[in-house]
């Protein structure tokens, strides 16, 4: 706490920070962990209600996700795409823009990378990888630019455009792969395999852990740098916190919007490209189980904080990896894992900080930005649930 001497009003030198007191800093991890703990409790109730041994199930889940080097590696593999989509979403959210279209960027990015991988077969592997990653990022960025321009130029609500463009991206890539790039020897809707030396090499045997995860970590660091140290990140943050203020001090809102959508789409595109190069090795129609949407959950749950995003991505990674494995060893349905995810999501959106009054003074922690309109509901959550419902109806999200 920087004391201000009553007489002079001059802050006492040497004491830097005032806002979050020491007690608060201790409470913040607790606050972040809250949704997970509550989710596990609710999950246990559901398990018990369906006559299963909750503790045993959790133990199995834990073993399958973190029990050994291979399990951990697979958890990291599962965490990679959602870490990237989480960061892509968080960049937009922190800047006050509700880009729920990362899924779309992911699809076009994935398709671009796959195209480079199966077309440029004559080039040496590392170059193909480089080209594929760059193309994936560019494709994602250009895709996100569409709603960006619509918003910047004509104030078209980006929740609607980005959400809808997801479907456009998914169906567009589906069309491309089914009509133009179908692998000759397979009946399913898949592109040809990418060149074998364009695959990312596993860092661990018997796993698909590749440099992709490390790249995602680098992006996390860049994200932290952007919002804590960079002038442009400062401008984006102010735009997100108070756009009127930002305008009055001379921040160009239109430019902020374009930058945000470009960055967000770029990272979304990377997420798709790296998934192709490191895991799938080809573009598969409707391949994403909703990475972009889980990214929304990751961003909200992490409260936009880089470490928080990393942790929630790891959590979702562990859940999906452990959940997939657990089916092989028990009769627990995958739906239960989905319930867990859903519950975590719900509690992520509830501001746990609201419960004890003292926590509301916490200024340093980021809360999901409030949209100007409509006041009573939280649009990312609405968008997310709409997307979830829509996706389960249309069936592309299985």
């Amino acid at each position: 706490m920087s004391q201000v001497t009553a007489e002079t009003g001059i802050p006492v030198a040497g004491q830097e920070t005032i806002a979050p007191s020491r007690g608060l800093q201790l409470l913040r991890p607790l606050q972040l962990a809250g949704p997970f703990v509550v989710a596990l409790i609710v999950g246990a109730i559901v398990l018990a209600a369906s006559g299963r041994d909750a503790a045993g199930t959790y133990w199995l889940l834990l073993q399958q996700s973190l029990g050994g080097p291979t399990e951990i590696a697979n958890t990291l593999v599962a965490a990679t795409p959602v870490l990237l989509t989480g960061l892509a979403t968080a960049i937009a959210f922190r800047s006050g823009m509700f880009n729920v279209g990362v899924e779309g960027s992911l699809y076009v990015g994935a398709f671009a990378a796959a195209w480079a991988g199966f077309t440029l077969t004559r080039l040496p592997g590392p170059i193909v990888i480089l080209v594929a990653v760059v193309l994936a990022g560019l494709a994602g960025a250009v895709w996100a630019l569409i709603p960006g321009i619509l918003r910047a130029q004509w104030r078209v609500d980006e929740v609607v455009t980005t959400l809808m463009l997801n479907y456009v991206a998914i169906l567009l890539t589906s069309w491309l792969v089914n009509y133009f790039f179908l692998a000759p020897d397979i009946a399913n809707s898949m592109s040809p395999l990418i060149a074998s030396d364009a695959r990312l090499a596993p860092l661990l045997p018997r796993s698909q852990l590749t440099i992709a995860f490390l790249l995602a970590l680098v992006v996390t660091l860049l994200y932290a740098y952007l919002f804590n140290r960079a002038t442009i990140g400062y401008q984006l943050r102010m735009t997100g916190l108070n756009p009127r203020f930002a305008r009055a001090v001379g921040i160009n809102l239109g430019r902020s919007i374009i930058v945000v959508f470009l960055l967000s789409g770029l990272i979304g595109g990377f997420a798709g490209g790296l998934q192709i190069l490191g895991v799938n090795y080809r573009f598969i129609d409707h391949f994403s189980p909703g990475y972009g949407f889980t990214g929304i959950a990751v961003a909200l749950l992490g409260r936009g904080h880089p470490a928080g995003i990393l942790l929630s991505a790891l959590f979702f990674g562990a859940l999906s990896n452990g959940g997939a494995m657990i089916q092989l060893f028990s009769d627990i349905p995958l739906d239960l894992i989905n319930i867990l995810q859903g519950v975590v999501m719900i509690f992520a959106v509830i501001e746990l900080s609201r419960l004890p009054a003292c926590l509301t003074r916490c200024s340093g922690c980021w809360r999901p930005p409030r949209r100007p309109r409509p006041p009573s509901c939280s649009p990312p959550w609405v968008a997310w649930s709409t997307a979830r419902v829509a996706s389960s109806i249309s069936g592309w999200n299985r």
Binding site: V4, P11, L241, R244, A248, G250
Partner: protein, 521 residues
């Protein structure tokens, strides 16, 4: 240190209150600490039923905090609140409202996306079955507007209301909820003198009906105009509570500041230099597409303060926004030191020396959730010692912020405190400090002393005068005609979107301005 001039049975206009009845509100030993800052330090306060009670004190003295505690928005660390002699616990505004306590905040608490009518009825919707009974709300709204003696565009979104209209709406909300204890936190800081007088009429009428009114203000003549009793706070404590009868503004000012206090001296005028701002036949539309400024032409020279007088909503806001670069005019030109800037962005203009003190401090002038350092840095993004090569120098920014905080005497937080934690007046100093320290060539100042205490006003007036002596051109917008006349070298009067008069400092009197502003002359 309590000067015990508290008379038993303070003068009281409500006939119902007897000397023996317990006071309507009694606060005992109320303490509230924010980190290292004691916002309220053992406050004792008694307010009888049916009177108007003023609370005065320097910026950051703890007035708002005390009232927020009474209204259930702040949980005191210790202390007792009694209503009619009965100790009560007020933990939420809902409980306060249920007990008949209503508050108009220093910072508006309206839902911008709803209409004025919806805001009025919010929290207590008249309904028929499950449906919002709009007609009943309209009837009620009309009644209240009539009671207050003002009008309101009930279907307009609050986002499109002027600051003054929002303030009136806040007051109407209290009346709508039949509050019996009404707390006003600097209600007149955004009202025109005429509106303030109207408000005082209503307050007196309500006090006469037995309602208890608590009134925070920095304007001492208001205290003497309407309050029977005044409490003075300083650094979290009550230092005096006295009847206004038999006291005077000078004595009160001394109590507030805690020392003898010199009245400001008017700086000598200097001959104006070259024109800095030239506006030629400027016409501007508002958000709804109405032409609110028509063919305005004027200029401001270096070393000159030009005051803009007018009833709120006469086109000042649009003019200011066009000058700053926030609004594109329909026709006309704006020249800054001879160069056209009509199409220049806000940032380009700021780099050419335009500074802007917004009329809406909380929504536009400052970023409340951001830290003080971030608020100050906002217009220093081109300062190479603070940011270079796209990279922030956080240590330098904190140092820079600290220097501004001390130079402009911003109390209540360090560089890393959120702006939200500052008291209203201190935040105003921060905004002013941020804008003034760049030694602007053109300062556009809307209500620069809004919410600032007596001493702060003197300080700010000195700063403005210094800046003028340094050759700055200034456009001053204020509802305080006294302030306008005192500071300005020249006065423009704006009426229904037209500039109808251009007076030299000597020619302007409040009466003459008043007539011009209403189009009567």
């Amino acid at each position: 240190m309590t000067e015990d001039s508290r008379a038993a049975g303070a003068p009281n206009s409500g006939a119902s209150a007897s000397i023996l009845a317990p006071p309507r509100v009694r606060i005992r030993g109320l303490t509230k600490r924010y980190g290292g800052i004691l916002a309220n330090d053992g406050v004792d306060l008694e307010i009888p039923r049916g009177g108007i009670h003023a609370i005065v004190g320097e910026n950051g003295a703890g007035k708002t905090t005390l009232m927020r505690a009474l209204y259930g928005l702040v949980e005191p660390d210790s202390g007792v609140i009694e209503l009619d002699g009965v100790p009560v616990r007020i933990a939420t505004p809902a409980q306060a409202i249920a007990r008949g306590i209503g508050m108009v905040h220093q910072r508006f608490e309206l839902v911008e996306q709803l209409s004025a009518l919806e805001n009025l009825a919010l929290g207590d919707l008249p309904h028929r079955g499950l449906m919002f009974d709009r007609n009943a709300a309209v009837v009620r709204a009309r009644e209240i507007a009539a009671q207050l003696g003002t009008t309101m565009d009930w279907d307009r979104l609050v986002a499109h209301l002027t600051v003054g209209a929002r303030q009136r709406l806040e007051i109407m909300r209290l009346l709508y909820r039949d509050a019996d204890i009404l707390i006003f936190d600097e209600p007149t800081s955004v009202l025109t003198p005429q509106e303030a007088d109207d408000l005082f009429g209503v307050l007196r009428r309500m006090a006469g009906q037995g309602k208890t009114i608590i009134f925070i203000t920095h304007k001492l003549r208001e205290v003497f105009a309407i309050a029977e009793q005044v409490t003075v706070m300083r650094r979290g404590r009550v230092v005096a509570s006295l009847p206004t009868k038999g006291s005077d503004p000078q004595r009160l000012a001394t109590l507030i500041v805690g020392e003898q206090f010199a009245s400001p001296v008017r700086a000598t005028t200097i001959p104006p230099g070259k024109p800095v701002l030239e506006v030629d036949r400027l016409s501007i539309c508002d958000d709804l597409g109405n032409l609110t400024l028509r063919q305005a032409s004027f200029s401001i020279h270096a070393g000159e303060i030009v005051g803009l007088a007018g009833i709120e909503g006469s086109g000042q806001r649009e003019l200011v926004e066009a000058l700053v670069g926030l609004r594109r005019p329909v026709t006309g030109t704006i020249n800054l030191r001879g160069r056209p800037v009509v199409t220049a962005s806000v940032w380009e203009r700021r780099k050419r020396g335009v500074a802007y003190i917004s009329e809406d401090r909380d929504a536009e002038g400052a970023c409340l959730p951001a830290s003080l350092a971030e608020n100050i840095f906002s217009i220093e993004r081109d300062n190479p010692t603070l940011a270079r090569g796209g990279r922030l120098n956080l240590a330098a920014i904190a140092r820079f912020a600290r220097s501004i905080l001390s130079r402009f005497d911003v109390r209540g937080g360090g560089p890393q405190s959120p702006a939200r934690a500052l008291s209203g007046g201190n935040l105003q100093r921060l905004v002013l400090g941020r804008e003034m320290q760049r030694t602007p060539t053109l300062l556009i100042a809307a209500h620069p002393t809004r919410g600032v205490d007596v001493r702060g006003i003197t300080f700010i007036h000195q700063q403005l005068a210094e800046s003028r002596a340094g050759g700055a051109a200034m456009l001053l917008i204020s509802e305080e005609l006294g302030e306008l006349i005192e500071l300005s070298d020249r006065l423009l009067v704006i009426f229904e979107g037209r500039i109808t008069a251009n007076l030299a400092a000597g020619e302007a009197t409040p009466e003459r301005l008043g007539l011009l502003m209403t189009g009567a002359a």
